[in-house]
Symmetry: C2
Subunit: 462 residues, 2 copies
């Protein structure tokens, strides 16, 4: 995030152009408190569903409830699609199944799936029963695919043309077809078995003469997305090859839908957010979650810290006599743990990220590990040297400086090795290194730091 | 990142379909070591420039050098565009200015700008002088805009049509224009002053009769991007409104280019990556950076930890007498610092992310702060209670348990307040909270933890 300060007017101009201004929100809050329905409609009229969703999230729960009641008669389903998950559940509970089902008929099938998949089984059933049969079948079929799979992300509405058509045939077909998807950027050319053999960006239709054969202008180098591919894998493919849309195929390679870049953008953002949150031991962005569930989800992670610090305390308690004889040790002992913990987390972050973006693979692993070990040793020597000198002068005891410096070199070396090896091992075991590598590593750096520093002191000083 | 374990064959199938397999890389390494040029060309022939870039990054520096020499005669400029920054600089240095300039003529203007802007002034000048005049002017003009601005991101090649045209006029124009952009998804309708008044997705041209007036099908609700808008702001707009392309306008609102979603995807990923890296005090993904510069960039951040721990040591040293009288204090004193530090970082992460995604704005701030304070107090009471009990039993001293529990409640409360207030204040001051909020907060939690725990102990126990 790089942000520059704006002066107020510029900030306000921006908000007016691209969202809802603070003034509008304040006016809306007043109107809601006074129950002035027509004023509420008037204030929200100029805004896009996205902006209305933002306003709903901003409002305090009682005012939010009032606003939903006012919007209920003509509730725009796009607003539901744009709401944050926690707030969305609240709003859907308030609206009730029948009214939600009615609103959903205004959405495309993939949007309906995205809304319904987050609900619990009972709610899903209730809403599905209120949806008309043809739409219900499509949604139910989509729900049979695993969550986070390409088939959940795709839209079923696609444009396919046979390989023997010309541009003129295609254009004529498009002008007559009333079942076209709402938005599309590419056509797919399919063989008689409905296997996609090429893609045609729409602009190519417009820049060649009508008599051109469609196979002459199609791009043959298309990427098929298997229906069961994980959405993260899909996002990675789109990003890597700069795709705008891609066909989704079933086991027999028949085309069953397509994924477009705008669906993928949300996945990219979601996955990056997950990584950020996990590295800091937060389950997910819990900004709108209620108090107690936020508290609970954070506690789960802090329990790990609790065990970690208790183990550290146990290590320190083994050296109580040593500390009593030389209380300077208590003053200096947090240094090595803090330095190696932070250095290790740097390495973990880089490694987790390199694994996630596939920069780190089979052949370059040993090189990456060696590099981190060397960086760790260099930094260990630098900081061990500095801290050793400071400790030696502070307590007028060169031996104490050497003990601290030695512990730092050893522990920063381990932090580097562990920081790169632990995420790789955890990844190989099929678990998520973004969640577990950090706490696991800092536990080891804490214990090792206290044990080596106090242990060296016990052996050489006291 | 959610990853499941694959069995080897499935993993290998995936690689074969969507990238370069480990076997191919090993075969390539052998061919490079033996200097078998034709074998190298043969192995790389089937791959996309993106994949070749990945291979170049994977290789060890000497083999990378050999490969570049082999590719030199027909170097594909797309490869340069796809390389990681560190490796790209190395490759560009090896190729030399004249050869780079020659390769660049194969790219679109925005790609050339993206490649050149990262170079230092001397290199820029050298390469620009070797580029033919018409292209050079475009690139030089683009470089006058600030880095990370919309104008740097945009492509100058656009399709504009006047408002009185029909679909037939437009299609005829498109079929004749030889200067069309390589890819485009929307046309823009402009008034006589070249101010964009609407956008037309290409699929709309194909589904309406040719006699339709362009103004009848255009979307009027388009978002103008000011040329100087920050790229992060642009990405935010595209994500929020689900845009695929948008016109870029100058100060007088004339259209000067367009930005498409595929350019924005890289920005979204970049910005998320920056946030991740900054929260862990790593300057950027330094995976391919050379040893010493990695070491240096990490040291800069560790120096902050050094000052932090030295200050903590200074606080502890004030209580040396207290510790000597009751050495259990040394055993327990890291607990409060670790718990409040971790709890605070959870809050900082959520707050920084909420600021970055604009979830946190003027009106909901006080509510967010109160919520965090309450969560902090709840968690403080939970963990203060647990730890207090453990300490009381461990050292058979109820008063010691009360002191530890009290310190924990106080410090976890502060961690919650500081975790939400510090990022907001830093953001208001126009600085980046992702960089400075974390270290600033943990410095305060460390100092306060040691001071309160040892201070309470000094007052009530010893």
């Amino acid at each position: 995030m790089t942000r520059k300060p704006f002066d107020t007017t510029e900030q306000e101009q921006k908000e007016a152009l691209y969202g809802v201004s603070q003034d509008t929100i304040r006016a809306l809050e007043d109107a809601l408190e006074d129950g002035e329905e027509s004023q509420v409609h008037h204030l929200l009229a100029p805004f896009h569903a996205v902006d209305v969703a933002v306003v709903i999230e901003y409002l305090s729960p009682p005012l939010r409830h009032t606003l939903i009641e006012i919007l209920r008669p003509h509730f725009d389903p796009e607003i539901l699609a744009e709401l944050n998950e926690t707030v969305r559940e609240e709003v859907m509970a308030q609206l009730g199944a029948r009214e939600i089902a009615e609103a959903l008929t205004g959405l495309e099938s993939d949007e309906v799936v995205a809304l319904i998949e987050d609900l619990d089984k009972d709610q899903q059933k209730e809403i599905l029963e209120s949806i008309p049969a043809p739409e219900r079948v499509i949604v139910e079929e989509a729900l049979t695919y695993p969550e986070d799979s390409a088939a959940r992300l795709m839209q079923r509405e696609i444009v396919c043309v046979p390989e023997f058509w010309t541009i003129a045939d295609t254009m004529q077909h498009l002008s007559k077809d009333t079942q076209l998807p709402e938005k599309f950027y590419d056509l797919f050319v399919v063989d008689p078995k409905h296997i996609p053999i090429g893609g045609v960006p729409l602009n190519l239709l417009l820049r060649h003469p009508p008599s051109t054969k469609i196979t002459d202008i199609m791009e043959r180098d298309i990427k098929w997305i298997p229906a069961l591919m994980d959405q993260e894998e899909v996002a990675h493919l789109f990003q890597k090859y700069g795709l705008v849309s891609a066909p989704v195929v079933n086991r027999s390679n028949r085309i069953i839908g397509m994924i477009t870049l705008d669906d993928v953008v949300d996945v990219i953002d979601e996955e990056a957010e997950e990584d950020i949150m996990r590295l800091s031991r937060v389950t997910e962005s819990d900004f709108y979650e209620p108090l107690l569930s936020t508290s609970y989800s954070r506690i789960r992670w802090l329990v790990i810290t609790l065990f970690n610090t208790l183990m550290a305390a146990l290590v320190i308690s083994q050296f109580q006599h040593t500390i009593q004889k030389m209380v300077a040790l208590a003053v200096l002992m947090p240094i090595s743990a803090a330095m190696s913990g932070n250095a290790g987390m740097q390495v973990v972050t880089v490694t987790v990220r390199a694994l996630a973006t596939r920069e780190l693979g089979g052949t370059n692993m040993s090189r990456a590990i060696w590099k981190e070990v060397l960086v760790g040793l260099i930094n260990g020597v630098v900081f061990g040297g500095i801290m050793g000198f400071i400790a030696a002068f502070w307590f007028a005891d060169p031996a104490l400086g050497i003990v601290l410096g030695g512990a730092l070199i050893l522990n920063m070396g381990w932090a580097a090795v562990g920081g790169v090896v632990l995420p790789i091992v955890i990844d190989k075991m099929g678990m998520d290194p973004a969640i577990s590598a950090g706490p696991f590593l800092t536990t080891t750096t804490d214990l090792l730091s206290f044990a080596t520093f106090l242990g060296f002191a016990h052996l050489f000083l006291v």
